[in-house]
């Protein structure tokens, strides 16, 4: 078997559970039907869960509160070109979450994304529009309280603000 094709096929099996290029291949069929592949995909996903929880704790907490954490990370893990470096992986995840329709998820993901950038020395200023008071939302992530939209707030994140952030009612 051609080595390039074999490795490409295994990559596809790990990412999606499927591979087909129109050619029959007993080895790829063996792997595709193996319990090894099922287990290995579960292990890879478990590490993605771990990485996201560790490096994006607020967004992860909100997704768990929404009951969508696992399906969201699973969909993310299936995307191509994910970095092996956890900080890069986290940034890619937060970028994806920051364009979610759910305004709470989008705002919290942007908060984690921009805060990380600024803490690492980024000199820019970033703006986040929140569907409610961000202090209440962020406190509520670890509590049983329901998050509801109220008055809009605007947050600016920059090194020039004490605590790196300034919040104003919009």
């Amino acid at each position: 078997m051609n080595l390039a094709r074999q490795q490409t096929a295994l990559l596809s099996l790990l990412k999606s559970g499927h591979f087909s290029d129109g050619e029959a291949d007993p080895y790829i069929d063996l792997v595709a039907g193996s319990e090894h592949l099922v287990m290995l995909r579960q292990v890879i996903l478990a590490w993605r869960f771990y990485d996201v929880q560790l490096h994006c704790p607020l967004t992860a907490a909100l997704l768990k509160k929404r009951g969508t954490f696992e399906e969201t990370v699973k969909a993310f893990a299936a995307t191509p070109n994910l970095s092996a470096f956890p900080d890069q992986l986290a940034e890619a995840f937060l970028r994806r979450m920051s364009i979610q329709r759910d305004p709470f998820v989008a705002a919290v993901a942007k908060f984690e994304l921009y805060m990380t950038k600024v803490k690492l020395g980024d000199g820019g200023e970033y703006t986040i529009d929140w569907p409610a008071d961000p202090r209440v939302i962020l406190r509520g992530l670890t509590q049983q309280t329901k998050l509801t939209a109220s008055k809009s707030y605007r947050m600016r994140i920059s090194r020039r603000y004490p605590g790196l952030a300034q919040v104003t009612a919009a």
């Binding site: 080595l3 295994l10 090894h36 287990m39 290995l40 092996a84 470096f85």
Partner: protein
């Protein structure tokens, strides 16, 4: 109270003890340094991603420089991907370049597997098919790596997480030819052997009988977990007695063995705790190097 190391590189067979240190945990370093002779550093774990490339920050290198004569340093990477058909990772070797420039590295090593395909990280590490084509490719790459650095290069047997592709060599046969053709040393990971035995009915006894143990310079051991019926190579726990026994058996047969390394992922340091890790190292020194 943890037992202090007697002196560097000393034991009944002059076998030293090493362990993993992934940087930025000075308290862990304070706990392990008095107990080991070697520190195993994974370049990938120290790195940060800047402008599209992995770079090891200066503070991380300085911390390793400070180890000085308290322990020898060996590099043990995960990102080289020596078996990727499209070529190994130059990004990884640039990290090794950085460390080699600043540190007195005893040797560097990698896994006999691959983590990248078509420029993508596969999310795990896969074993190589033991074919002539693969052997030729790996030998040529090992030669290039050996020319690049002035210290020995070692390769490690990894777990077989997927069914094996039918090859031209046995596992041990492949390692024997690779090591004799290139002169590279071997790391024998005995916990990986146990995982393969448990998951794939791999025969450790036949493997050890066939392997030319004179190439083995380092032995790795670790403790992991079960997931369903599978034993996982996750480096998350203290070692089991069976793993220590196997390491002892392998060490007795390896005339050029220099160090036995206990590996633990940084993610699991809080679970074992500093005192727990120190206790494990003390236990291993007693069991393996005395």
């Amino acid at each position: 109270m943890a037992e202090q190391k007697p002196s560097r590189h000393k034991s009944i067979k002059s076998v030293a003890l090493g362990t993993t240190y992934e940087g930025r945990d000075p308290e862990l370093l304070n706990h392990i340094l008095p107990l080991v002779d070697y520190i195993e550093v994974t370049p990938d774990s120290l790195a940060e991603y800047r402008n599209g490339h992995a770079v090891i920050p200066d503070d991380a290198i300085r911390e390793l420089e400070d180890i000085g004569s308290d322990a020898a340093i060996v590099l043990h990477g995960v990102g080289l991907s020596i078996g990727t058909f499209g070529g190994y990772s130059e990004d990884y070797l640039r990290m090794v370049d950085q460390l080699m420039e600043r540190l007195d590295v005893t040797w560097h090593s990698e896994h006999l597997g691959y983590v990248n395909v078509d420029g993508q990280h596969i999310g795990t590490m896969l074993a190589l098919p033991k074919t002539e084509e693969m052997l030729d490719m790996i030998c040529e790459r090992v030669g290039r790596i050996q020319q690049r650095y002035q210290v020995p290069f070692l390769l490690e047997n990894i777990v077989h997480m997927l069914p094996d592709f039918p090859g031209d060599y046995t596992e041990a046969g492949f390692l024997n030819v690779l090591a004799s053709r290139t002169g590279c040393g071997l790391i024998l990971d005995v916990y990986n052997l146990e995982c393969d035995a448990h998951n794939n009915e791999f025969c450790i006894e036949s493997f050890l009988a066939e392997l030319d143990m004179s190439h083995v310079r380092e032995i790795h051991l670790a403790g992991g977990t079960m997931r369903g019926r599978f034993k996982l190579d996750v480096h998350s726990r203290a070692t089991q007695e069976s793993t220590v026994d196997l390491a002892r058996q392998a060490a007795a047969a390896a005339p050029n063995l220099e160090v036995i390394t206990y590996e633990l992922l940084p993610e699991y340091v809080p679970k074992l705790g500093y005192a727990g890790i120190a206790g494990e190292l003390t236990r291993l020194r007693k069991a393996l190097t005395n």
